[in-house]
Amino acid sequence: MNPYRRHPFIRVATVLVYIFLYAPIVVLVLYSFNASRTNVLFEGFISSFGPLKTSGSLVTQSPCGPFHWFCELSQNREVGVAARNTLTIAFISTFVSTVIGTMAALALQRYDFRMKPFSQISLYIPIVIPEIVMGIGILTLFSQLFGLLNNAFGLTGDARLSLGLGTVIVSHIAFSVPFVTLVVQARLQGFDKSFEEAAMDLGANELTTFWRVTFPMILPGVLSGALLAFTLSLDDFVITFFTTGPGATTLPIYVYGLLRRIITPQVNALSTIWIAIVLTAVILLQRLQNREA
């Protein structure tokens, strides 16, 4: 029996589901080259280069040619700020959650202590509770806490504590940590404790054993945990929506705000860049995995 035999029904269904997954993405990318300013119908590409020329709602000539909307996007200061915020939040929250999440995974897998059951159970909270519930809970916490502190210390004006980048980062760490810990824990479960025991027998102290033996072995788990935390942070909308303040807009929040008012090909250009980055990352990841295998 050929183990790779698949029923024709499965093949047809697979093709259809892949089309369902990719058709919207293809449309999104195609429309980022749209000559039409209103972006309702696809009216062809902008084929000629040169000073900006328009007729009606059509752009007929642009210094950037078909990449007109990408050039417009690069001039958009709001997008630049949002992109910088998104990356700042993602990098800091990934770093912190990877470090403390890995520590927690080691503790839960290798040690016994009194609050262990509580630590383990609290990891499942973000998985079983809808994000919006966490979002408004954290919003309530920050607004009550900041209200109290601002009153207690008589803070006014710019010194007042308020929602912003800091609150978003702290909240992103809260929902990323459990995923890092669970991924590293799964990796730790899979490997033999006798390597560490051998290192200790050979005279290495605990720190040396950790850095020379344990860490290299769990590194793939730590890296995939970090990658997960990074993508969760980049993609997050709901928690950010409730914990962000003036000046701390992220790209998803910015795009959402635009979509409620107006649709321009600039949003498509932004989406195309995002998709291109994801595609590159996925291909690099696959190369890496193939090399490991």
Partner: protein, 307 residues
């Protein structure tokens, strides 16, 4: 002190787990507790919270109303109960459709040659990692009255010499359902694939040797063994669908109000955080009950992490 720490394993464990545990305690446990406290309060005229202990908000969610058309002291207003029920049924149907779409694809990938398996999986990751909001936008472009789908249908109709009226697809319940299915499909594909991949080939050979036809093998071997994946996928799909408000906001407009929209509204425009908190706790309780009964029946697999 340092000496004691070096010898005491329990201390070391506590210290290592402390940052994460504290973080989760202050940002997940305490906020949930605060939400509970706020939900028993009532709204002050400036949109703040007057603390108290009243079930008024919960009664309102169940349909108790003091704002009656006939001028009575109280009457039944099903508005909020309808919103809760709509969210529940939408999440149910989204999950069912997502399982039906994800299963064949996951099966196809799990049964493909190991060398090509990664590529097929990566093809699932690209839409998943493309931002959530961007994916909703894609469906806005497709479903609009002058969008791509109406454009293609109109073109076909013109070719066939038929008259064509653009379909109203955006801002309907159907649009929200399609959007939800699209958003959460990858979250079902990955766990089902993980559990299917674990099934060892000799099991199929044994089934075939014992005279089972492929259909029977699927029913008696493949399906039961892939259930942990389906359970994990269901949790990863059902819970977020219950709480999402962007999809219904952008694709449903004012036609499809879900409990997520209700909560968001209370915190932003209606400015009644006490009612919003009560709604969000009811939402949490509904998802916990469903998850509890579902996992008790089928088990809580490790496939969740695999996704």
């Amino acid at each position: 002190m340092l000496q004691r720490l070096r010898e005491n394993k329990a201390w070391q464990g506590t210290l290592l787990a402390l940052p994460t545990t504290l973080w989760l305690f202050f940002l997940l446990v305490i906020p949930l507790f605060l939400t509970l406290v706020v939900s028993f309060g009532s709204r002050s005229p400036d949109g703040g919270v007057i603390y108290g202990f009243s079930f008024h908000n919960y009664l309102r969610l169940m349909g108790y109303s003091t704002n009656c058309p006939g001028g009575q002291a109280s009457c039944f207003d099903p508005l909020y109960a309808q919103i809760l029920w709509r969210s529940l049924t939408l999440a149910f149907w989204t999950t069912v459709i997502v399982i039906l779409l994800a299963y064949p694809l996951a099966y196809f990938i799990a049964r493909s040659h190991p060398r090509r398996r990664n590529t097929f999986l990566m093809l699932v990751l690209v839409p998943l990692w493309t931002n959530f909001v961007i994916r909703v936008y894609a469906w806005m472009m497709l479903l609009r009255e002058q969008g791509v789908i109406n454009g293609v249908l109109g073109w076909v109709a013109a070719r066939l010499g038929l008259s064509f009226e653009p379909l109203q697809m955006l801002y309907t319940p159907g649009a929200v359902l399609v959007g939800m299915v699209y958003e959460f499909l990858p979250f079902m594909i990955l766990p089902i694939f993980t559990s299917l991949e674990k099934i060892e080939l000799p099991l199929y050979e044994a089934a075939a040797d014992l005279g089972a036809n492929p259909f029977r093998t699927f029913l008696r071997v493949t399906l039961p063994l892939s259930m942990p994946g389906v359970v994990a996928g269901t949790i990863l799909v059902f819970i977020p669908v219950m709480g999402t408000f962007i999809v219904s906001d952008l694709l449903g407009g004012k036609q499809v109000i879900l409990v997520g929209n209700l909560i968001q509204n209370q915190f932003l425009s209606a400015r009644d955080p006490t009612f919003g908190s009560a709604a969000s706790l009811i939402l949490m309780i509904m998802t916990l009950i469903v998850t509890y009964f579902y996992t008790r029946k089928f088990g809580f697999g490790e496939e969740i992490i695999a996704a």
